[in-house]
């Protein structure tokens, strides 16, 4: 499964509680869309750390890294490239 598919499935299952792919666009803001809240962001961070073997620093917890599927994919790819 690609990074995008993995992330999409996780967010759909755990925050939208659905497997309907149409429920989430890749550039939907999780925050503006009311999809996640503050505990949700921590859950996403823990999930991507484990699923992609990366370490998210506290100062990287920013909307430009975490607030949409698109931002997450870019962020994870960048982190993996640095650690590779």
């Amino acid at each position: 499964m690609s990074i995008k598919q993995t992330i999409r499935r996780y967010v759909l299952e755990n925050f939208l509680f659905t497997d309907d792919e149409a429920a989430l666009q890749d550039d939907d803001s999780f925050l503006a869309g009311g999809i996640i809240d503050s505990t949700g962001v921590l859950e996403i961070m823990l999930f991507i750390e484990e699923a992609f073997d990366i370490k998210v620093e506290d100062d990287e917890m920013l909307p430009e890294h975490l607030d949409s599927i698109k931002n997450l994919v870019t962020f994870i790819q960048r982190k993996q490239a640095v650690s590779a």
Binding site: E13, F15, L16, F17, T18, L31, A32, G34, I36, D37, S38, T39, G40, V41, L42, D58, D59, E60, M61, L62, P63, L66
Partner: protein
Amino acid sequence: MSTVPRLLQETLLATVSRSPERTALVAGDARLSYREVADCACRLAQALRVRGVQRGERVVVFMDNGWQCAVSIFGVLLAGGVFVIVNTQTKHDKLAFILRDAGARVLLSESHLARVFGPVVEQLPTLQVLCTAAKAEVLPANGENLDAALADQPTTPPPQFGIPLDLAALLYTSGTTGEPKGVMHTQQSLLFVLDSINEYLGFSEDDRLFSALPLNFGYGLFQWFSAVRAGATLVLERSFVYPAQVFKRMCDEAVTSFASVPTVYAMMLAQDAKQPLRFPSVRLLTNAAAALPVEFIPGLRRIFPNAGLCKMYGQTECIRSAYLEPTLAEVKPESVGRAIPGTELLLLDENRRPVVSGAVGTLYVRGPHVMRGYWNQPEKTAEVLVPGLLPGEFLLKSGDLFRQDAEGDFYFVARSDEIIKSRGEKVSPAEVENAIYSLPTVREAVVTGVPDPLLGEAVCAFVTPREGESLTVQQIKRVCSEHLENYMVPKHVLLVSELPRTENGKLSRKLILERYAALITELA
């Protein structure tokens, strides 16, 4: 305008005339001076009057926690209207309930929220919608562009007719029966409690208050009112979702006051353990909405080395009841202190007689800050507003049991209703149960709070499926997320075959908690 403000909007006009160029509000990329806030609020007031908003009519503000929301509150008040703020996490059926229940004349919102309010306003043909929108094409069908509506209005207030007895706000709060109740506050009750709060917290125009609390919540709303009254600056964040961003903002703006709830303090303590957090500019730290665990205090002293800590207690029905003097934070760490200035607290038994010294009683609140009642709900009002000491006076019966020490300071003992406090938010078990029952495969559902290290209490649902039906945890969480604000969605869902009952055959939270005690311990 009188020399002493008698109405909330007069506090804004007084501050503008004193210090028009002082920064009132910092939110996202926006920085507004008091003059800009007042100009914008006056334009909105004029636009609302043009659209027929009369004295006492309700205007629902369904906006993100940003400058538009903060300014709209004063715009509605300057129009003579009653503001009703709805959290943007609210889903469409609850928004529809509030719009109908309040009899709203106008809805103020933002275009990205149209997917929530769009289907609702179609059913309410008399409701006018004013909506911010970057582009005309994203406006909902029956919505008017708010920015365009303001553009040609004057920046002077429309003629003012209000008096302190007028209704100023309906603050919707969760009730035990599931439907939210509109707490009616007058100009007088809100302005009184505002002055009392600013007196014991000692805000001045040099303060920069920081808040990420929602403006629909009394504690969040009063950060804004306190700032305006004092001529101080409010640094308003949408939420605490991105802590690094919030912490940077706090440092950049050198904030002097930080208002939050135990869940946020818990998160800050966890961060501090990994990498030290320091906010030396903060002189005042406040806590409300849920009790601050005693063991948090030493860590908070490290994070805020120059701040006094003020623990407070209140409820929407009177905004604030008690506060503990910062000097007593370590002396009486479990106390909520005493009544706020100008009010009193009474501990009464079931016959409404004072309890003997040191005994546990129900807390009653006496003062000009007590609400007028629940909107359109005289029976529910009568349950909590009981005849007071003088004819025509009412005491507010809180849902909580307290005791008092020899020096007069109060200690929380227990709640006397079943409301769950999660992340400082009130969650009505009945409201969550109703959402779960909308699944036809559910036989029975009981929702209760279970201890949680971060949330205080976590929402936990015990559900039994109908015989022969399949039911999954995910289905239950989904139906909850479709109907309820995020903080109400159960963190834990336990599917069980049978729920324990009392001898009378009633479902009992107490028996459920006993039977599943071991399981609940594992969840935390």
